[in-house]
Every structure is written in C-alpha cells, then in structure tokens.
Amino acid sequence: MSRIGVFICQCGTNIADTVDTEKVAEEMKKIPGVVHTQDYKFMCSSPGQKMLKEAVKKHRLDGMIVSACSPHMHEKTFRRACESAGINPYMCEIANIREQCSWVHHDKTKETGTVKSLDLTRMTIERLKKNQPLKPNKIPVNKRALIIGGGIAGIQAALDIADGGREVLLVEKTPSIGGNMAKLSETFPTMDCSQCILTPKMVEAELHENITLMTYSEVEKIEGFIGNFRVTIRKKARYVNEELCTGCGDCWDKCPFKQDSEFEHGLKKRKVIYTPFPQSVPNIPVIDAPNCAMLQKGKCGVCAKVCGPKAVDFEQKDIVVEEKVGAIVVATGYDLMPNEHFGEYGYGRIKDVINGLQFERLASSSGPTGGKILRPSDGKEPQSIVFIQCAGSRDEKKGVSYCSKICCMYTAKHTMLYRHKVHDGQSYVFYMDIRSGGKRYEEFVRGAIEKDGAMYLRGRVSRVYEKDGKVIVQGADTLSDSQVEIEADMVVLATALVSRPGADTLAQKLGIGYDKHKFYNEYHPKLKPVETVTAGIFLAGTCLGPMDVPESVAQGSAAASKVLVLTSSDEMIKDPTTAIVNDFTCNACWDCVVACPYSAIEKTDIKDREGNVIRRLAHVNDGVCTGCGTCVAACRSKAIDLKGYTDEQVYAAINAF
C-alpha cells in the first residue's frame, strides 16, 4: 500500500476563495493509501516547501500530490522539493485546482469549486498509485560534429563550432568549398566583393586545427541518434593524391581537353583536370573521370607526366569511411530552377538570355570576361539589358508557389553593377512586386532606380525572341496600362531558387522532414528555426528555403550554437517520459515503427546462441524518443507503453472519475 501525502494549496485567496481547501484535505484522508493531508496558504513558498519536505520524513511518504496551480507553473518546483526530500521526483503529481478550477468557477459558496477539486485530486491520487519512480535518461554525447555542405552557412557553422573547441567534419560534394556565394560578384546592400569576404573564411576553415575538410565527398548513410551518429561517407576518387599535390597548376595548364565549367555556368571552359575556380579550397585539382582520355581510353596521361611531385594517380579508387559524430548540421544549399521551365523566355535557346548567377559571373572580376559585361553570343557590350523577375517564382502553374526572396535585391544589384560597368547602358526590370524588407534594402533598391537609372516596369513578360541580333522582349506595364516591346541586347532571368536535386533522398537518410518543394522542415517555424524533428540534426541556410547571405550566416551560427550546447557535456540528460516495449508481447508488426514521428523505434533481432534469429522485436531508442505516445495508441496488443503516462495510470484516473 502506498503512503501518499496530499497537499492542498490555498494560493493566498486565489484558490481558497472558491474552494474549501480544508474540506478537500479532510476528504482526501479517507482515500486508501493516503496517510497525510494538509492545506496551506502558499505551497510553493519556501516555508511551504519546507513543510512538504518535513511531512515526507515524518510520515514516511512515498508519493505526493500537490493540488495547486497548473503543472506548467510549479510541477518542476514541487518535483525538485520531492527529490530533495528523498523521493523520486516522478512520484509527485499535480492536481490543477487553480487555473482549471478556482479561477474558472466563481461560485463564492465554494461548493462548485470544492466538488471539482475533490474529483481532480482523487483522480490524481489514483493515478499516482500507479506511478513508477523514473530516472532521467543519460545519453553519452560524441563531441564531434558533421557539417553537410560547404557553402557559406556550412562554413560559418564549422568555424563557430571549431572555435568553440569541438572537432568538425565538413563534407562537401564538389571539389571545393565555397558554394554558391563563391560565384557572386558583389553582395547587396553593401556591395562588398563576395570573394573578398568569403575567401578568408574558406582559408580559415581549411587551416583550422579543429576542422577536417572532406571535399568531393558525399554522405551515403546515417545511423544512430543524437550524440551517437554513425555516418558513412564516400570520398570520391580525385585521381590526385591530396598529400603530394602542391596546387601548382602545371597539370591543368597542360591538359589538352576542355569541358564546360560548372562554376562558370557554361560561360567558360575548364580543363579535364581542374579546380573549379582559382581560389578553390583545397587548391587541389580533380580529374573529371568520364571525360578523361587516360581514364577512359588509356591514352594521354600528360598531367601525370608534368606533375613534379607525382601526385596524379590514375589508380585511385573511391574510399568509404565511417565517422562517429554527435551532431549534424545540414547546409546543402540551393539550386536554380532548371532551364526547361522558361521556354517563353528563350532560356537555353537564345544565347543572350542568361540567369542571375551567369550574370554574377559576367560581373565578377575573376569571371570569364574579367568583370566586363559582354554578351555570350558575340562578346559585345550590351547597350540595354532586360531583367525579368519572378522567373518561376510565385507561379504555381509553371513554377513554384513561393517567393524566392533574394531576387528583388540581386536584380537591383545587377542593374547597379551594369550601370557602373556600362555607363550609358539602360536596364529594364519587369517585376511583380518589389520586396525589399531588410536593413538598408529598400534604400538600396531606390538607389538602383534613382541613382543608377534602372527602369522598373510592373508587369510580366509574355514573349522573348531574337531578331536581327537583338533580343526582343514583349510585356505589359500594368502601371501605365500599356504594352511594352523592348529591343534589348541581353536578358537576365531572376530564376527561382529550388532545393538541391536529391534533397529528398538525403532527408530520408537523415530522417528529417521536407515540404513539397523538398526544402527541409524546421522543428518549429518560429521557436525552433534551425532544429529538426530528429534530435541532434540541425539546419542552416538555403536548404530550408530561399534566404540571403546574412540570414544563412546567422543560421550557420545558430546551428553552431545548438551543436555547442549539445556537446557542452559528456552526457545528455533526457526526460524519462519515453516509450518502452514489452518484449514478451511485441508482435513485431512494426506499426509503432511506422507511426513514430521521430523514427525512435528500431527493429531488433533476438538471436539464439548459434546466431539464428528467433524473434524480432521493436525497441525504443531513449535518445530519440520524445514521449508523444503515438506508438502506444497504435499498438493493438499494448505491448508498448509510455513511461509517465502508462495505460495503468490513465486507466486509474478514468476509474476514479
């Protein structure tokens, strides 16, 4: 038989005004298992808590009920008091007789409130009789972090975590870190040179003693859970020994074969052995295997011949490594919507219709034209450029429903860069709305219009075609209610930002959610913007959705701070309210595995001594389980239960109703 103490709080007059607390204390004495009851003015005050602790000792209590305010208010307080008095804190339950009783039933005769308080307290007592002492789960935490994606968000996160003293593994798919930001010429609204602010960070990441770079590598598999992830990474063969290579460039100078440069978006060729761009980190080339004559046909090998340190290695193979980390930051970035969506704008058909990133390359002093704005078709300087905004964005029928957010700003930037480089050039911008929320952003756009003479036309473009070496743009100007036809030399599309191809596959490997556009879901859009439903996995940058550089950096830092919190101690303390499987009655139907929103339930095998599987069982990973209980309701045989909210506890409460 339990020895329960019941404490009724008067909360000054907050409860006592409408509840006869003395009567509640009297009545509760009659319940089997209750050995002590008491009402008091302020249970949460320090004399109140002292009284409570003394009662525990005096009456040898093994559980207690505090009928007081909402558990959201003082459950922690009383459980702590319980613990310091020597009983398990989970043997303390709160009956909410203030927020859900005395404050909402204003009957001054106290009858209404007293009757309800009696019921609520009695139900809680019966529930408490079925409580079990619980211990918080302690989970060891591996202090290394994995960053997936070496763009600005990933670099920022890596640097912050590394500066915090934790080891970081930065995995990048392409041969160099830097991401999309490395392609930009200048950045709005300050017009800093993108390379100038990014390159030092890239170098810092390369040199940081706590950061290990794994470029040209991809995450293949992720197992485990918060604090204890096992990550399988494929390091693709570079065919260049990273240890030996000095990055001198002799190999790519001499390589006789050329391909379109991915980094330059096809505006320039690169060699078959190459680094994506001159400031690549690491400055070690890779061989584009499918296009290499040596690797495909065994003929050539010039690069190997000219390589002083003999770093070229045609025998190199992919290497698969397993790494253990405690936290993961996903910062895989964005892509531009593919060409085929913009038939009416002539993209891919008309050479002088380009996208925003191509324009960035044209404007970049390290770009294919050395920073001169020249048309791709004939290399002439365009005298007029039409910028078309919302190419694909905010267009549910042909593109995507969302706003790509950064295009208004970079288009304004483009018009400025154009005017700065071609002083008599005229730019036209077709827009739907100008969205320039942000510090100094509106002023920036006004500057483009007022100082740099960009002609903004509110309307959509209906058709783009070539005529006599010009690109003709037909559209509407809805403000003057007129049809517009512009003979332009070049057209720049502000193409929609979309998620990376394969974003969904990676999300499935990680067990994180994604929306219909395959952008990753944050745990809570307001309060947990960089967390995911999978504990220990965080998000940063444009893999969440379109955002600009400062936001990406902020998110990188935010994710890093989350990682640092997680890795600040050797063990993580987790609430013991987790599900638990009864091995005898589990059917291995995996309903719980499927229903669990957190992938916290695993399929396990029970083997005999010879190693034959004799049974299969569901097993809850306490590290991942958040205690929602969805699995319990899904389990037909009730072979799974939720500690702290067991079937027995609920049943007891219903039975005392």
């Binding site: 859900q100 909402v104 009957d107 309800k116 139900m123 929103p597 929602c628 209980g629 969805t630």
Partner: protein, 154 residues
C-alpha cells in the same frame, strides 16, 4: 459501480437537476495550456468537465473513450493542437485518422455521437475552450444522462 450510479441517476435526477459528468482527454501542449489560459484570464465556465492530461492527442486510444463511458461519463471530449501545430509534429494527424474511423464505428453502432466531441484548441484559444465546455455541457445536459451505456447489463 455503474449499476449504483444508474439507480441513483434514475431515481433522483431529472433533466432539471441533472449535472452531466464529462471527461476530457487533452494534450499537454495546446489544449491544456489553453484551458490554463482561461483560468489565468479569470474566464468562467461550467464545472462539469474533468480533464485527463496526456502528452499528445496521438496518445489517446479509443479504449480510453469506451472506458470513460463505461464508468458513467455522460460525455467525452477530446482535444489537442490544431493540425500542423503538434508539439510532436504529427501526433494529432495520427489521432485524427483514428477518430475518423472510430467515430464512423460509433455512428454505425448507434452510439450517440453527440456524446463524443472532438476539437482543436490552441494554447491561445482560451475563449474557444470556454465556449466549447459551455456548449458541450449544455448540449449533454439537454440530452440527459447517457442511459445507453448506463443501462448496459453488467
């Protein structure tokens, strides 16, 4: 147990004096907090509801509801976070599916569906909670004691 109640209710309670017993299964994060807010805002509502707090509507099993009726509940209320707002991301979606099937079953077996009410109430919707409790209480009061279940032979 219920037999006792039956005699008692039949003997003494007419619709005038009848005070229904209503059991509410609510989630910790939205509806429970919403009900707390009603208190903090000193709103007033009918005193007939007894809450059982659960972490999430996903935890709520039809067994709870059946047992509540067996134990003499005249009405049962189930409430949690609005779709999309679940603290555990999806528990309420699971719950919704379960309720769709269970309610259809109740309807088909002739269990008065007015005795079982479902609602989404967020942590800020104190007023909605108050209205819900008042409406449900009045509705069930008008329906009278849930004799279908109370009369079941034990």
């Amino acid at each position: 147990m219920s037999q006792e109640n039956t005699e008692e209710t039949q003997a003494t309670e007419t619709t005038e004096t009848f005070e229904p017993k209503i059991m509410a299964f609510v989630c910790n994060w939205c509806t429970y907090a919403g009900a707390d807010l009603a208190g903090t805002s000193r709103m007033e509502y009918r005193p007939n509801v007894r809450i059982i707090k659960l972490p999430c509507t996903g935890r709520i099993d039809p067994l709870f509801i059946i047992k509540a009726f067996e134990n003499g509940a005249d009405g049962v209320l189930v409430s949690g976070c609005h779709p999309g707002d679940c603290h555990y991301t999806a528990g309420n979606y699971h719950a919704k599916r379960r309720w769709i099937a269970f309610r259809s079953l109740m309807e088909f077996t002739g269990i008065d569906t007015r005795r079982l009410q479902f609602s989404w109430i967020s942590a800020s919707e104190a007023l909605k909670w108050v209205d819900l409790i008042n409406n449900v209480t009045d509705e069930i009061k008008a329906l009278g004691p849930f004799m279908d279940f109370k009369n079941l032979k034990g």
